[in-house]
């Protein structure tokens, strides 16, 4: 069975185990749309293009793009699975179709008169700011280059992938100091 569906399946079992009465809807009497049983994809995974090799360079690039640090080999393996699921979209026949970017494609962009509104009072502006310095927001310095030395054991990632251990294997000990300025 596909790995992902197995995860969903087991978690659903767990949910079921806790009792069907726990499945609530926003309004009483609404139809429950999430199936009780996991849906097994009929997509033939062998038709999908090959997974790109996940090497340290790719990991570093993805981290830089997403501003998210992978904290373990398991996290990287999860990502790999997510990519595999997303790859199924490749099988959809889009020949000769212009990609859509919004469901409002036929709508025209509304325009507005150049008339000022009252800006937010300064206290409102800072209401969600964790740190404030006089009337400025405070952020860590931008544009700090990410170090990209080998942090993960690539074999462990693959191992996790094939065995499908629910617990992350031991991470490689070399961790770096985050946000260290070069």
């Amino acid at each position: 069975m596909n790995r992902l569906s197995r995860i969903i399946w087991t978690s659903t079992i767990r949910a079921n185990h806790n009792g069907r009465s726990q499945r609530r809807t926003a309004l009483e009497g609404d139809k429950v749309l999430v199936p009780d049983e996991p849906y097994n994809s009929k997509i033939d995974n062998s038709l999908l293009s090959k997974m790109p090799p996940i090497d340290s360079k790719l990991i570093a690039n993805l981290e830089r793009l997403s501003l998210v640090r992978f904290d373990s080999e398991q996290a990287v393996a999860n990502l790999r699975n997510a990519i595999r699921v997303a790859k199924r979209l490749e099988l959809v026949d889009t020949e000769g179709l212009e990609p859509m970017y919004t469901v409002w494609e036929d709508q025209e962009c509304p325009t507005f008169e150049d008339i000022e509104e009252e800006p937010l009072p300064i206290e409102e502006v800072f209401r969600n700011a964790p740190v404030r310095f006089d009337d400025f927001f405070v952020t860590p310095p931008g544009n700090v280059p990410l170090e990209s030395n080998e942090r993960f054991d690539l074999n462990v990632i693959n191992e996790w992938d094939t065995i499908g251990k629910p617990v992350a294997p031991q991470a490689k000990s070399t961790r770096l100091v985050e946000g260290k300025e070069k």
Binding site: L65, W104, D114, P119, L120, P141, N143
Partner: protein, 524 residues
């Protein structure tokens, strides 16, 4: 030794002949990206006012990317973009679309900038302007291709604070002001068709005057209303070279110096068989370019994606008509009028139009102008006036309407040869140092009355001139003797004596002529 020239690529004193030959093989290739901040009352996608204020006082929820807020496009920004498109003879697309360009900086709160990368509002334009410089004998007309015009958001402003050095001090941090975040910009992308820094700055200068005139932007450079990026590379024997990008220049001088510096820097690298790194550079205070980012950052992936919250922007016919009408009503810019109607040369017309006081003075003069007075004459006497006023430590140009009237009257009188050159200089000094500052215009005496009262008209009658010269010569026989023997000092002294005695009423050339006749013919 090669040294970085501030003057230009071609004028390095220490360059040897061999180096000159070497340089001739390289051709600088320069492309510009000009960011013009629009002078709309509100921001591009929010109705937040754009007036100056203390930090974070010009912020609406959308400007700081509060989740759940949506962009609402400002119609005035579209008009301004359409006017700009017409100014740069661009093709306005039937529809355009907005894209998200992602990068992570504190001053870009959403993590992306809304811009127009793939379907800009206008493209494929061309723009002509005069290129002039003190090193050029004659100005020439240059046309550049405009690749595209795009509407986009500005970022906020960041103040970088270094880490505090004391023990237990804090690490470096950035202070963010979102007042500018979301303000409307038009980015103009030119093709890489500039060959010198001079061409680049003349383009920016001309463009600036036009966008101010057509009410697209306030065009104040020191306020960052115009920010320029330049892509510079050296083409060798028609083989393109690696280019570097100089970011965020906001003064004409910086653009000039930084481009020249970069050309020289790249030449030095290439000439010693090095390789130019593709990178982003910044210009420092003196206009030197310095490496700005990590090398691999040049290949930053902006992950462009279509902005899903803004449907396609279809350009309505009536918008185009309105933009067109507005531009026609605005007429020609001052520098264009000075150049094309009055006949000022390209350099002077730009120079005058860039200085509001000078422009006001020239406009006053032109209103009073008799069409027989040429632009050259006005320029010549303005130069004389400037020297005179600077010598007497007065502020040039004079502000009053009264002075402008006297100035033009003097020009007419000297033109009609009713006053001598030297007399006019004296009168200029008199009027420029006395007529300024007080508002008692009505009481002041105009040039004509003053000249009439003091009898300062040029002496036209040749017999009268001969009589005066003869008189003076007879009274200074010793000087005459020396002058006749070829002593030029004595000749000049004699001339000055006559000049003073006649209150500069004889034309100086005419005077010299008559004096020579006297000396040669031994009439004395």
């Amino acid at each position: 030794m090669w040294s970085y020239s501030r003057r230009g690529f071609t004028s390095v004193a220490s360059a040897t002949v061999a180096q000159h030959q070497q340089k001739a093989r390289y051709k600088p290739v320069i492309g510009l990206e000009v960011h013009v901040q629009l002078n709309t009352k509100t921001k591009l996608f929010s109705r937040c006012p754009t007036t100056d204020s203390s930090p974070n006082r010009r912020v609406l929820p959308f400007d700081m990317a509060t989740p759940g807020t949506l962009p609402s496009l400002n119609s005035q920004c579209i008009y301004r973009a359409l006017k700009m498109a017409r100014l740069l003879n661009c093709h306005v697309s039937e529809w355009s679309r907005f894209d998200r360009k992602h990068y992570f900086y504190g001053d870009m709160p959403a993590g992306y900038q809304i811009t127009q990368n793939h379907h800009p509002i206008a493209k494929n334009g061309n723009f002509g302007f005069w290129v002039f410089d003190e090193h050029l004998d004659v100005p020439y007309w240059k046309e550049v291709k405009i690749l595209q015009l795009q509407l986009e958001q500005d970022s906020g402003k960041t103040i970088h604070l270094p880490s505090t050095s004391s023990e237990g001090g804090e690490g470096p941090k950035s202070l963010i002001d979102y007042n500018r975040a979301g303000c409307a910009l038009i980015e103009i992308v030119t093709s890489p068709c500039f060959e010198t820094a001079i061409e680049a700055i003349r383009f920016v200068q001309t463009l600036r005057l036009l966008i101010i005139h057509h009410n697209i932007s306030n065009g104040e450079l020191h306020k960052g209303h115009l920010r320029v990026d330049a892509n510079v590379s050296l083409e060798r024997d028609t083989v393109p070279g690696t280019r570097t990008e100089i970011k965020n220049m906001n003064s004409i001088r910086t653009i000039h110096t930084a481009i020249n510096f970069e050309i020289a820097r790249q030449f030095e690298i290439l000439n010693s068989n090095g390789t130019v790194q593709k990178e982003t550079r910044a210009a420092d205070q003196d206009g030197r370019t310095v490496s700005m980012r990590e090398k691999d950052d040049v290949d930053t992936d902006y992950r462009f994606m279509v902005e899903p919250n803004l449907p396609k922007l279809r350009i309505k016919e009536e918008w185009l008509t309105m933009a067109e009408e507005e531009m026609e009503n605005a007429g020609k810019a001052d520098f264009e009028n000075l150049r094309d109607v009055i006949g000022f040369d390209p350099r002077s017309s730009i120079h005058i139009a860039e200085d509001p006081d000078l422009l006001a003075f020239v406009k006053r003069c032109i209103r009073l102008r008799d069409s027989s007075v040429s632009a050259e004459e006005i320029l010549y006497w303005m130069k004389q006036l400037k020297t005179t006023m600077q010598r007497s430590k007065c502020n040039y140009p004079p502000q009053s309407e009264f002075f402008a009237r006297q100035f033009m009257t003097l020009l007419n009188l000297v033109r009609q040869r009713r006053l001598t050159h030297l007399r006019v200089l004296d009168l200029l000094r008199y009027y420029s140092t006395t007529s300024e500052g007080d508002s008692s215009e009505g009481e002041e005496e105009g040039v004509t009355e003053f000249v009439e009262k003091h009898q300062l008209w040029r002496i036209e009658d040749p017999r009268e001139i001969e009589r005066l010269v003869g008189d003076m010569m007879r009274r200074n026989e010793k000087l005459v003797e020396k002058a006749r023997n070829g002593n030029s000092k004595s000749f000049n002294r004699l001339r000055n004596l006559i000049n003073e005695a006649t209150e500069k009423r004889i034309d100086i050339e005419e005077l010299c002529e008559v004096m020579k006749q006297f000396l040669d013919q031994k009439l004395v």
